[in-house]
Assembly symmetry: C2
Homo-oligomer: 219 residues x 2
Amino acid sequence: MAKKRIGVVLSGCGVYDGSEVYEAVLTLFFLDRIGVDVVCMAPDIVQTRVINHVTGQETGEQRQVLLESARLTRGKIRALNDVMASDLDGIILPGGFGAAHNLSSLASDGANAWVVPELSSLLLALYQAKKPIGAICIAPAIIARVLADQGITVTIGNDSATAGVIGQTGNRHETSRVDQVVIDETHHIVTTAAYMCATSIGEAGIGIEKLVKAVVERA
Amino acid sequence: MAKKRIGVVLSGCGVYDGSEVYEAVLTLFFLDRIGVDVVCMAPDIVQTRVINHVTGQETGEQRQVLLESARLTRGKIRALNDVMASDLDGIILPGGFGAAHNLSSLASDGANAWVVPELSSLLLALYQAKKPIGAICIAPAIIARVLADQGITVTIGNDSATAGVIGQTGNRHETSRVDQVVIDETHHIVTTAAYMCATSIGEAGIGIEKLVKAVVERA
């Protein structure tokens, strides 16, 4: 039997301007341990900003989301607009500020955010095909934005501002702890808070491992 | 009782010009799960090169090893020259080309390579204090270079060229598989091949988990 194919959407490399590295790598680790085929992808666009990860200040550099994401995949990555829903049995979005600054404008626009069109259409096609969607940390807010008014249930932990944004999309936020996942069985959506709540990589890993397992089981 | 303090030496962020990301993150993950205090550090120097991780070509950009390494630590990192052997109960060096290009000149100079002086003196002080040293992938060759003619035994898997370099330092190479660690009990040195041999992150994780456990037990 062919292995299940799970997509992982990256948004750069580094929590403050790209993918949260621990969330991305642990997702890849747990997927590989289960034994699925992983398809890493990122949009081929310029990063909204580049942050010095020691000072937290913008550096003024210009970096490409796809090339920086490739640092998380040992170079093996596809441009998001080359990936079709039919290539995948499920998808997972790790978090990090890249999700809110590069994949979408959530950080500045909340419930009115744009989402990169190739991501938006891929997520919608997977949703319509009833293939499972997993999202970690802030990324569940992207799912809520793309699937506005579908009545889906997601978690980003217990941050009331972000939970409010999710409510404004016409969807439901469920409060959770870092070691939990929220599974919306009706809509095939699995979410976990990870670094919206986590105080260590080990803590984040507990929810991420559960999320990966739940997505693969439903793929 | 105070927690054990284990240092992790980073060399940038990305396998082709910095730390191998999976080796670094899995080291941090397994250390955190055991429950030790982790001290991440990197030299505050300019990277020897910056590589486009999709094409493998040099980009001509200039990046700092410390700042890029901070992407792997959510910003929490110390400059190598600020860390003393007395701050640590043991140390681990993940691999990646950053180990052979930024922490040392192993990639070009083999057994005659320079090693960043603050790393060299820290490793030597830890060795003299009989604190355990762990090294992953290509990094065991740095240990062999710093501890020339000490008769230590390390592994980098089964790459004959690198094994030859280790032999030229007056130390011993032991061939190993990706799921093994080599423990030199006399010299308190633990090594594993990881991405010198690994074909997947899950495979690399097997040896890295064993290495982390062995270092912490001896710390």
